[in-house]
């Protein structure tokens, strides 16, 4: 029965849009879909009206853990709704634009900086031509994300900094033109039957030119004779015949070129790091149709700037915007648009064809359309609801929500805010208030809330240790703030029991040590601060047991070797610090391969221990997941089958068994919960939109039941949330520890 497992996520975005510092942009050929990727790894899909170019954000895709560097279409078919994204961490995903689901994802060791989708001869659909931090050109399939084949270099093999695939007009095969970062231009001819098994495919020709660190390379589509190569300081037109320089354009003072392309045989558009486009008319010696082609540079005939594409307001940007020239065709009308997405999440579009060189003066063109997430939020009436909107008067500025946890058993939502206050509300009541119409909405000061005041400034993280392990007191709530303090609260009375002031920086993470630590450590929680220190704070003794503070780099994760009394702190530079928990003695600092191995070993022992814990539950059988992988390793199908069956049994039985401490009972438990709530943080400094996930049937029942128990509100009408949510969130599991925001099962 599919209905019972269906989870409907609802996002309460709040009055203000999430931050979206754009790192890459893409517009579909039919002008219907705009996609922006940002430095925090999210991808936003915008619906575009092809006629008016009005853009509305529709979907936020979550999954990449690093800046999104490339976005490409996946198919030649016009209304095929798939795109491929690639991030700086080597993750690649194929997304379905219709429902926002991730269809395929891989993580590869080669990180791409550029992808060109190209329809090769002898292939039914597009292939992705990728270059990046590696010496080859990789050709990948956009749907399976598998490597089809790769192109290697014989002469001066080095990273490829730009490439252009094209089909010469006189030939049937495809040609890859590329330039390495040290300035070797290379040409590969493809016949269409290349594959992974074939011998290495080397370049057919190569030539060293004086051009280091090129950013883009484009062959003129009209004559295929001239090539535009853009470097940061200058861009140059080359003759494709012998790769000699025809003319050169220096970047304006204080700006660097980013990329460019031909507009016509005699015109180019280049854009700069300031987010401006510059249109130049080329001199006669750079235009193949002209009789002076390939002649010497003449003093009076140099490239002429005839148009600029710029924003009228020169708003300060924190990084160069992402820009891209796209050719579209909509309603039989072909046109070229320059796209720009900047650090404020502002998207602008210029029509390039309108700006023909007419006069001697330089015309500055303003964008056709400009929009942003902020603008989309501002245009919403009423504004997207936030989870604590009831606490503000409509004209008051909203206090940003900065942390959130959901206490399942008590059905309470604990929210930390920017001003240091922590608000506790009944989760069902809150959902009712914002998403369901009813008389309860007229009630003043409903639902009742509890306010914990103790932090001086932003609350960064919250922890309810009892959720993780029942050994902790049910009434303890722990919070960490920007004021360097960790606060211990008595949840029911709202009393501040203790304030731990041991860190030298704002608190960034709170977690719980595993249950097999020594009895003293078992009563502790673990906190991490921005001064890179880690502490174990004893909730019963009300003091710091261990201060581990010699880390040079930010702490990424903490792993445990409880049996040896070791806490292993992994920092972002790849080092592992091994601390003795009881004595706070720094046992070892490991780097490189050793660090990797020790961290992996911690995972293995943890898995074994979890397996052991489950074994108690399941009459001496080890963790089915481990069995499954053992079976996989030894190619033992029977073992895999039994392990799967046992795993399924454990999943089904786990919740019914009353939520024991086994590793599988926890997810099973939360899956069965009618309502779960998650905070979703786009950016460490950003605010936290809150995601409610509830089964449509039981979730609503819970809502109605909750309402009845509250005694306040009367009958409930239809949920109205579909109208109010401006954006939906879709996610996939980027790594085993990542959060999944939706579950379509």
């Amino acid at each position: 029965m599919p209905g019972t497992n269906l989870i409907v996520p609802v996002v309460l975005w709040g009055k203000y849009a999430p931050t979206h510092c754009i790192s890459s942009v893409y517009l579909s050929r039919d002008q219907k879909t705009l996609v922006t990727g940002c430095y925090d790894g999210q991808v936003c899909i915008w619906q575009v009206e092809p006629e008016t170019l009005k853009m509305t954000p529709r979907c936020l895709l979550v999954g990449h853990t690093a800046p999104v560097t490339c976005i490409s279409r996946a198919s030649i078919i016009q209304d095929n709704n798939f795109i491929v994204t690639s991030s700086e961490a080597g993750e690649m995903c194929t997304w379905d634009l219709v429902d926002g689901k991730c269809r395929e994802s891989v993580k590869i060791t080669q990180v791409h900086t550029n992808i060109q989708a190209y329809h090769m001869c002898n292939s039914e659909d597009l292939r992705l031509f990728c270059n990046g931090y590696y010496a080859e050109i990789l050709i990948m399939d956009p749907f399976s994300l598998e490597l089809m084949f790769s192109l290697s270099s014989k002469m001066n093999p080095d990273w490829i900094s730009a490439l252009h695939v094209l089909r010469p007009s006189s030939r049937k095969d495809d040609v890859v033109l590329a330039i390495s970062i040290t300035g070797t231009v290379k040409v590969w001819s493809l016949l269409g039957h290349e594959n992974k098994q074939s011998e290495p495919i080397y370049e057919n020709e190569s030539k060293q030119i004086r051009c280091l660190n090129a950013l883009s390379l484009n062959c003129c589509a009209h004559n295929q004779r001239t090539v535009l190569i853009v470097c940061a300081k200058y861009c140059q037109i080359y003759d494709a015949g012998d790769f000699s320089v025809l003319c050169s354009i220096t970047a304006p003072a204080g700006e660097r070129w980013m990329s460019g392309d031909f507009m016509a045989t005699d015109r180019v558009l280049v854009w700069s790091t300031e987010g401006k486009g510059y249109l130049y008319k080329l001199p006669a010696n750079s235009v193949p149709d002209h009789k002076g082609f390939h002649g010497p540079t003449v003093a009076h005939d140099s490239p002429v700037l005839y148009g600029m594409l710029a924003h009228p307001d020169n708003k300060l940007l924190s990084c160069p915007p992402a820009m891209r020239l796209v050719a579209t065709s909509s309603g039989g009308k072909q046109r070229r648009l320059l796209l720009r997405g900047d650090s404020h999440g502002v998207v602008s579009l210029w029509s390039v064809d309108d700006s023909a060189p007419l006069t001697q003066t330089v015309l500055t063109h303003a964008p056709l359309v400009t929009t942003s997430l902020d603008a989309a939020w501002a245009a919403m009436a009423p504004r997207p609801v936030g989870v604590l909107d009831q606490m503000h008067a409509p004209d008051e500025p909203e206090i940003k929500l900065t942390a959130c946890i959901y206490l399942l058993a008590a059905n309470r939502l604990v929210v930390g805010r920017d001003d240091g206050s922590i608000v506790i509300v009944n989760a069902t009541h809150t959902v009712q208030l914002h998403l369901l119409h009813g008389t309860h909405q007229q009630l003043h000061d409903w639902p009742p809330h509890q306010l914990l005041l103790g932090h001086n400034g932003r609350v960064n993280c919250l922890l309810y240790p009892h959720h993780v392990h029942p050994r902790y007191d049910k009434s303890y709530l722990v919070s960490g703030g920007i004021d360097f303090a960790v606060c211990l609260w008595e949840l029911y009375s709202g009393v501040l029991l203790h304030r731990f002031c041991v860190h030298g920086g704002e608190i960034t993470q709170l977690s719980v040590p595993p249950p097999d630590c020594s009895p003293r450590i078992q009563k502790c929680i673990c906190s991490v601060a921005s001064d890179h220190s880690v502490t174990l704070l004893s909730l019963s003794e009300r003091k710091c047991v261990t201060l581990a503070s010699r880390h040079l780099f930010p702490v990424v994760t903490i792993k445990w070797r409880a049996a040896d009394d070791f806490m292993v702190v992994a920092t972002c530079d790849g080092a592992a610090y091994v601390w003795q928990m009881e004595t706070a003695h720094l046992d070892r600092v490991l780097t490189g391969m050793m660090a990797e191995e020790v961290l992996a070993a911690c995972d293995a022992t943890a898995a074994d221990e979890l397996g052991g814990a489950l074994a108690e539950l399941q009459a001496g059988q080890a963790n089915p997941a481990l069995h499954f992988f053992r079976g996989l390793r030894h190619r033992n199908l029977n073992a895999m089958l039994t392990a799967t069956q046992r795993g399924l049994q454990a999943l089904q039985g786990g919740g019914g068994a009353g939520g024991g401490p086994g590793p599988l009972s926890e997810p099973a438990h939360s899956r069965r919960a009618p309502l779960t709530v998650q905070g979703f943080r786009a950016n460490p400094k950003g605010k936290v939109p809150i995601i409610f996930e509830h089964g449509p049937k039981r979730g609503l029942q819970a809502l109605q039941g909750g309402g009845g128990a509250g005694g306040g509100p009367g009958p409930l009408s239809e949920p109205a949330h579909s109208r109010r949510a401006p954006l939906t969130v879709q996610g996939f599991r980027a790594n085993p520890k990542g959060n999944v925001f939706t579950d379509g099962s």
Partner: protein
């Protein structure tokens, strides 16, 4: 807000402006010096470095299992005499060599050098007289720098894992003369400051493939220097980032929010 707090906030603001105006440029300059020095240790042409230095190394493992004399020119092994005992057949000794025509390229060195070059490029892009107006601007540059330096270091410290059949098919393996028998493979790679040589032997035990290996290593002096400088510059970057993050608690701080004369003098 009482007077003390106001004064503290004003002082912090002044400090913040000083960091943006003076400290950021001075640290970027220091970083630049360290990174250029680091680039000059590389044996390949890099950032005004002449390049193509040559080194000779001898790699042996203890019980005379294998011996390898290597000439490292730039990022490639241009010459090597390799001999190792085949496992479980103690009397067979396998010999092969690498020569000028088919050098064994250590891609890790080129990758590290390119990442380093990219990092220096980020600093070169900042004009010495540029006036930073927000911490976000600086943080973006630092984030790019940290990324490149981290990748440069990782390229040397964590060699990429390769499947054995991928290694067997690789261009490097095919350039050996004489070619190795089908069940043998060798590999050279960098791990931290060491050059490592491994000989693999494939065998089939009860239908499953089994890989035996033996390895030898030697220290490469310039790699220790390079790693040291990369680590030091990563640390400098991180400290600058931490410094700026302290101020980012005060979100309303932007240069110019006080008085313009303070900023542009």
């Amino acid at each position: 807000m009482c007077d003390n707090e106001k004064e503290e906030a004003a002082n912090l603001k002044e400090e913040f402006e000083w960091v943006l105006r003076e400290e950021v440029h001075s640290i970027l300059h220091q970083l630049h010096t360290v990174l250029v020095e680091c680039a000059h240790r590389f044996p390949v042409p890099l950032y005004g470095n002449e390049g193509q230095k040559q080194d000779k190394f001898i790699l042996t493992s203890q019980p005379e299992q294998l011996k390898c004399i290597v000439t490292l020119t730039g990022d490639s092994i241009t010459h090597a005499d390799i001999s190792f005992k085949v496992l479980r057949q103690m009397h067979t000794i396998c010999r092969t060599s690498i020569n000028q025509d088919g050098p064994w390229k250590l891609q890790q060195i080129q990758d590290a050098a390119n990442h380093l070059q990219q990092a220096i490029g980020y600093i070169d892009n900042v004009d010495k007289h540029y006036v930073f107006r927000s911490s976000d601007e600086v943080l973006h540059i630092i984030q790019c720098l940290l990324g490149s330096l981290q990748r440069a270091r990782t390229a040397l410290v964590l060699p990429k894992k390769k499947a054995i059949d991928e290694l067997m098919k690789s261009r490097n393996m095919k350039a050996l003369s004489p070619n190795l028998p089908e069940d043998l493979a060798i590999s050279f790679y960098i791990q931290s400051h060491k050059l490592i040589f491994v000989a693999y032997q494939l065998s089939s035990v009860h239908g499953t493939m089994r890989i035996d290996s033996c390895q030898a290593d030697c220290a490469v002096p310039w790699l220790s220097d390079v790693l040291y400088m990369l680590t030091a510059s990563l640390h400098m970057c991180q400290q600058l980032k931490d410094k700026l993050c302290v101020f980012s608690q005060y979100k309303d701080f932007t240069v110019g929010s006080r008085s313009a004369s303070m900023v542009f003098n």
